[in-house]
Symmetry: C3
Subunit: 361 residues, 3 copies
Amino acid sequence: MTGDVIPRSKTNPGHYFEDFRIDQEIVHATPRTVTEGDQALYLALYGSRYPLHCSADFAMDLGFEDMPLEDLLVFHIVFGKTVPDISLNAVANLGYAECVFGVPVYAGDTLRAVSRVIGLKENSNHRSGVVWVRTTGFNQDDDMVVDYVRWVMVRKREPGGDGAAVAPPVIPTLAPVVPAADLTVPDDLDLDGYDTDMVGQPDLWEDYQVGERIDHRTGQTIEEAEHQMATRLYQNTAKVHFNRFKQVQSPMGRRLVYGGHIISLVRAMSFNGLGNAFRVAAINAGSHSKPSFAGDTIHCWSEVLDKMEIPGRSDVGALRLRSVGVKDQVCADFPRLDEAGDYLETVVLDLDYTVLIPRRV
Amino acid sequence: MTGDVIPRSKTNPGHYFEDFRIDQEIVHATPRTVTEGDQALYLALYGSRYPLHCSADFAMDLGFEDMPLEDLLVFHIVFGKTVPDISLNAVANLGYAECVFGVPVYAGDTLRAVSRVIGLKENSNHRSGVVWVRTTGFNQDDDMVVDYVRWVMVRKREPGGDGAAVAPPVIPTLAPVVPAADLTVPDDLDLDGYDTDMVGQPDLWEDYQVGERIDHRTGQTIEEAEHQMATRLYQNTAKVHFNRFKQVQSPMGRRLVYGGHIISLVRAMSFNGLGNAFRVAAINAGSHSKPSFAGDTIHCWSEVLDKMEIPGRSDVGALRLRSVGVKDQVCADFPRLDEAGDYLETVVLDLDYTVLIPRRV
Amino acid sequence: MTGDVIPRSKTNPGHYFEDFRIDQEIVHATPRTVTEGDQALYLALYGSRYPLHCSADFAMDLGFEDMPLEDLLVFHIVFGKTVPDISLNAVANLGYAECVFGVPVYAGDTLRAVSRVIGLKENSNHRSGVVWVRTTGFNQDDDMVVDYVRWVMVRKREPGGDGAAVAPPVIPTLAPVVPAADLTVPDDLDLDGYDTDMVGQPDLWEDYQVGERIDHRTGQTIEEAEHQMATRLYQNTAKVHFNRFKQVQSPMGRRLVYGGHIISLVRAMSFNGLGNAFRVAAINAGSHSKPSFAGDTIHCWSEVLDKMEIPGRSDVGALRLRSVGVKDQVCADFPRLDEAGDYLETVVLDLDYTVLIPRRV
């Protein structure tokens, strides 16, 4: 036995609340070249049918170099990189805001991520605090592919310790909605050849009304192997998703599904009714109101919250949507809140986001 | 609440029996670029070992440009495109016929599908009818990759409604077997360099006898995550495969495995005994005699129904095969029919198809 | 019925002990072109984060042509090819030794495998014997990609038959450890640009001490669909991994997880503490001390057994490691042997292997 040898720990302890400083820049590890293999797995996991992401011919007809990866796949890969640095010691993920998607990502691109701390607020119990970070994902040409703010509650290294070590609270001001002028319309986008027959749905920007609600009329049951494979593909290391042994000892009693897996399921299922919404351009806010587990069947519905014109473009518009993911319940009645205004027990996602969709010309 | 806003439904209602017309052409949505990612997933799902489909070197030695995708993967992708238009309101899938495979499909090709209605027959109960369609899959050069007839029983929109709106029955005449002259031998196929060592089995066309039966002596257990991932990869939207919540309320009580998943399992397992049958050239007929569910272990056996020469080729011949998929039973006794001539409860597939296999020269 | 037709069996019976001869060369079937799809599936199955294998930019900065496949993925693919010839009639896998990894393997390479029988020893019960083979995997340029010795206990065709037919025992002498001089350092490896920030861990060769033990502090739960997909991807045909129907009748009562799946899980999880160990260079010995099943949660820890300099290189060194996989138990206490020196019931893997890691310059 060589138990006497005790060098410093080689494993990543993650950051605690005391470790974060305003304006601190965190370069995340694990650069990642995305491939056609990732795209195929994404299809197999969610069954997405947006032709922009599964047909190179369709994509090139619209001015893209090739079929771009799904926007949310890019988000998940960038998000995954931040977990070891930002949320390994998190108590809770509290929210997202100001998420915009940038240049399209193609198979062969290499993605990396950097975060900057933009807010810090210690909790009054001195055991934890809230950390706001702005994370930016880049491709190999240093073009922004996604940029978002996320805030999490992080444990202190020394609970109940001296709060004085921590600077006064800084709480960032966040936009409730990404303005239309801040949305990225891909360069060279040309919708002249947009063929709704290849989507199988006729409805364009003009056909949607603010307040309209759509039951997407489909459901997907989640299996443990599926959400585990997804989350590992994103190199997301949060233990709650993979470790049954640990989770059975937790109050939940079982593995939790990565919240982003639900977002992707809802985006894929909302194709049925929003098939021409070819791009997720922004995420304004999102709440994983209840956890999801393997065995849950997710249904969803959407509401059009707003219609926005895109400055300088008459061929493409934006829809601000609320999409609600619901487990083990159909969505004909658009379930969301109870009479007291709280989320129903069955609601697992309430996502406020913005999509691009062709206009009639 | 904005419940007053009720635009027309945005979701796809599918076609009902009244919506089909003889000679109607249906252009299916979702063009699909196939990739090496699809091939890898196909391997992971079925464990296929035909070297033509997993070795670029082996394929190019035979005159192919690259390793072609598995024939059945092409079938499933084309089939998947037809589901939202043809079988969303189907009561039952009744059969296939005259399925021929065309030009090889390579990673990078983009597939699309078109169907033509070739038969219609309203049922006497006026609640549904049978629709025959001929579906053709094309690549980006408009070459045919697969062409087949399928018939399904489809609900009427207005059950018991006026049958007079529907034209007199048209029942197509279908060939019981695809003739050898109609089989596609890939251009530039050159079997001079065919190396049975790379297959691990010596038997060629001459070694098989009509009436010979082969127990493939292997079995594969199906998991929910596997058949769900397969069916989503094919962008097949039939709800019975994905929605546990809905299925537990159905007579089956659980999710059904896509019938094509069983066909692919049987084709992969029949490698052990038919390893040199390098190409599925045609499907003559097929019956999913009983449904399959997760947890079933599929075994299979095959019978040589016929041996056919290929016009103009002395290097390659065809075998017409019956392959039978059986659940939770070994195949040493070649199970298929009971004494009354009905399928045994354990038989989940009875497939009549034609493969290409090298001849001794 | 055509039961009268009984040609010789078309299926592979595998080799029995009597079929092996010293110096016999066995050319294995199923050449395999590896792709980006394989890499993506490997990520999804194990969540590996070594940037050499997931970032083309990182790999090319180190002098590689592109990101190479994970070393263990190469091992599993080569190993899979040997199963139909070597271990289809095996009673037990007894060990590995002298495993060295050769030239890097890139997407697009085509792998094949050849084995040579180097040892034979009939058991005293005349029912089985031990077969030692040296297996070499090659790429399309006939460069060695992996080379290892494996020994298995194989049934005799005629149990209790005449042992005289079998030659006198030949037991090969195997090195307990692959010497540093026999490790392959990839051509053109240039560690000048090695960026530990992209790994997220600072520790290099100098930072590890012989005798140091590392709890990797993570666990992964195995699902049936996952290990089945992995093993099929490797075209490993061992029935115990796929056939629930057969396994429920066996003493184990259920499907066994392929031992290599555990090795890959442990390698991926040991990233947390060994992140800069960019290459598995050799496997010295390995024991799957207990079987693993779906539902098991695997944790792991490692011990530095030795530190080796690489002849002619001052920029890269080797660590000889013991990594131990443990099921349903955390590794803070480094579980391995009981007081009697036997493996604990929870230990599923004890792997002795050698990794390359940059040195400080």
